[in-house]
């Protein structure tokens, strides 16, 4: 730096002013200038070896700050290359407040209001979609040839056949757990045989349908939502609309039909494996015979229980596939929106499954 305090000051900048050192360079310059409080500032750039756009930015920033303090400012001996870089930058833009927004957290009341509005809008959207879906399904019943049966078979394979191992394994383990835990208590009262009743009732009436539905929601519901969501983001759904297709009939109906067919079958399969798990504990740990265990199950489980379990699973299937497709169609934006839709599909499906199951528990109690 050259010049007397309070007078015309010439600042010599030399070396490399690059992205990595601009913070240090700027604070050094500011510190030096604070001490001398110049009346006029001249910046000599002849010593600059290398300058990138970040370096040019701090020079322009220095100029803006000098102007803001009404200090006459001038660059001296600016190299052609430095000038080229400086010309690319707009000092007004640099002086604007930072663009990275600091999001203001809403207050509790505002949050409650926003959440309520979001919930209300969501319910309206889901109900509207379910109405459209039922209408499309009714149309398909009237015109079966309009259904894309090839897709139905594909989704039956994906949601049903490919889900057999995990549904079977989870049900078997559930049966094992229920039988083992209940046997610890019932054995004390000599009620070993009632382990079979407990396993049968728990699996057939509740756990079979509900666990199958949860697994299908996790495996297939998420896949349905992600598939339709990605198609939304890639404007594939818009393309279908412009070609005259109804997206719900084209994309959602095959998935819903496939789910309605395979979920009850998977539920029966899960019931068998669950009872099988109980049978293993009964035979291996409670000295029951296969015959006595099966006989006790037959005595406990009525045809009504099996039919009601299948009716439940049909409703669960509609809820899973329906909500997954609705969340998919709701997707807007990019990759993150697809992820959000997938999560929302699984969470909403599980929530609706539990709500529907509660309703079934009450209704079936009175029907019986």
């Amino acid at each position: 730096m050259e010049g007397q305090k309070g007078c015309d000051i010439t600042l010599f900048i030399s070396g490399r002013i690059v992205l990595e050192n601009i913070d240090e360079a700027m604070s050094e310059i500011r510190l030096g200038l604070e001490e001398v409080t110049p009346e006029k500032l001249t910046v000599d750039l002849s010593g600059i070896d290398y300058l990138d756009t970040a370096g040019a930015m701090i020079l322009l920033q220095l100029e803006s700050e000098a102007h803001a303090l009404s200090i006459p400012f001038e660059f001296l001996r600016m190299a052609k290359k430095t000038k080229g870089i400086m010309n690319l930058l707009d000092s007004k833009t640099i002086a604007e407040p930072p663009l990275i927004p600091k999001s203001k957290a809403p207050g509790i009341l505002e949050q409650v209001g926003l959440a309520s509005l979001a919930l209300f809008n969501d319910i309206v959207l889901v109900v509207t979609f379910l109405g459209e879906l039922l209408f499309a399904l009714a149309h398909c019943v009237m015109h079966p040839r309009s259904v894309r049966w090839g897709d139905v078979l594909l989704y039956m394979k994906r949601a049903g056949v490919e889900g057999l191992p995990i549904v079977g394994l989870i049900s078997l383990l559930l049966g094992l757990i229920i039988a083992f835990m209940s046997s610890l208590q019932l054995r004390q009262f000599g009620g070993n045989i009632f382990v079979a009743s407990l396993v049968g009732v728990a699996i057939v009436k509740e756990l079979g349908p509900i666990m199958t539905a949860v697994v299908v929601a996790g495996r297939s519901g998420s896949a349905f939502a992600a598939e339709i969501g990605t198609m939304m983001v890639n404007e594939e759904v818009d393309a279908l609309v412009t070609m005259g297709f109804e997206p719900i009939r084209f994309l959602a109906v095959p998935k819903v039909i496939a789910a309605i067919v395979v979920v009850p079958v998977l539920t029966l399969y899960a019931d068998l494996f669950g009872i099988g798990g109980g049978l293993i504990i009964g035979v291996a740990g409670l000295d029951l015979t296969v015959f006595s265990f099966v006989r006790q199950i037959q005595k406990t489980i009525k045809a009504f229980d099996i039919v009601s379990s299948l009716v439940k699973s049909v409703v669960f299937a509609m809820l899973i596939a329906g909500i997954a497709c609705q969340r998919g169609f709701q997707t807007r934006g990019g990759a993150h929106a697809v992820g959000a839709s997938t999560t929302a599909a699984v969470v909403s499906a599980i929530f609706l499954i539990v709500v529907a199951d509660s309703a079934f528990a009450i209704i079936l109690h009175y029907i019986k």
């Binding site: 970040a54 930015m57 690319l88 833009t93 934006g333 990019g334 929106a337």
Partner: protein, 276 residues
């Protein structure tokens, strides 16, 4: 032991890579690329000099994007080398590769902006990862970079809220965030209207003239190649390699190869004509 190369035309971080020649910035030697059994490129060699705008052109399926992906280190060549600032990127260790990547900015065909972040956050991303700058300085740099591509005031927009041209420019702002010495462009004009294309041309030319950034552009848009590029190569699907190389304006006027002549004269828009 040789002395490390020191140049006032490069930032110090490049000399730290152990580069001894300032030119060529990129050297592709005998590169062979395959997908399975299908050879896309066979024995491709060329060099890109400092500050050049270098175009890689050719029809669909000739391997332009494959070549670009080898040059930016996304693919490893079956045979041959890609040298960036004197470093063989296929054989480099992770630390060296990280340094080399710091010198490369890439504008992808689809822009590659992260959809969950707004433009300002997208541009700030490399600065947060590679520098220790304060938040205020990063915000200023983000403002500056968005200003350089005429997107001042759009920092809070999400990519999904922008037009194709704006996304391209935002992608370019992010590619330039760290002031790389090389910028790669994959079909930068794809899906853009002529006016937006011309605007992007001017931005690219301005950056090259102002900062001297070396640029490699993969495209089949002839009028932009002729307007912008200092040097060009043309790839051919059947030849699996380069069939023409040189100043694109000269190639357009004088090439005797019918494939090159047809390609370069088939897409002549009036735009930028007076500039060429």
């Amino acid at each position: 032991m040789e002395k490390p190369f020191v140049s006032l035309e490069y930032p110090e971080r490049i000399t730290a890579l152990g580069v001894f020649n300032k030119n060529p910035v990129i050297a592709v030697n005998d590169l062979t690329a395959r997908y399975g059994d299908h050879t896309i490129l066979d024995g491709v060699s060329f060099q890109v000099l400092k500050g050049e705008i270098f175009a890689i052109m050719g029809g669909s399926g000739c391997g332009k994007s494959t070549l670009l992906k080898h040059m930016i280190g996304l693919y490893t060549p079956i045979k041959g080398t890609v040298m960036i600032h004197g470093v063989d990127i296929a054989g480099a260790d992770e630390a060296t590769l990280k340094h080399v990547r710091r010198e490369m900015g890439v504008l992808f065909q689809s822009s590659g902006l992260l959809g969950s972040m707004n433009l300002a956050e997208n541009v700030a991303l490399p600065l947060l990862e590679h520098t220790d700058l304060s938040a205020a300085t990063i915000a200023r740099i983000v403002n500056m970079k968005l200003g350089m591509v005429n997107l001042s005031g759009y920092g809070h927009y999400l990519p999904s809220e922008l037009s194709g041209g704006m996304k391209k420019r935002a992608g370019l702002a992010r590619a330039m965030a760290l002031d790389p010495t090389i910028l790669f462009f994959d079909e930068p004009w794809a899906g853009l209207d002529p006016i937006t294309s011309a605007e992007l041309n001017n931005i690219i030319k301005g950056i090259n003239a102002g900062i001297g950034t070396t640029m490699v552009i993969v495209t089949h848009k002839v009028e932009s190649i002729v307007y912008l590029a200092d040097q060009a190569i043309m790839l051919d699907r059947d030849e699996r390699g380069i069939i023409a190389q040189g100043d694109p304006r000269e190639l357009k006027k004088h090439s005797s190869d019918p494939r090159v002549a047809t390609f370069l004269t088939s897409d002549t828009a009036e735009l930028n004509k007076e500039d060429t």
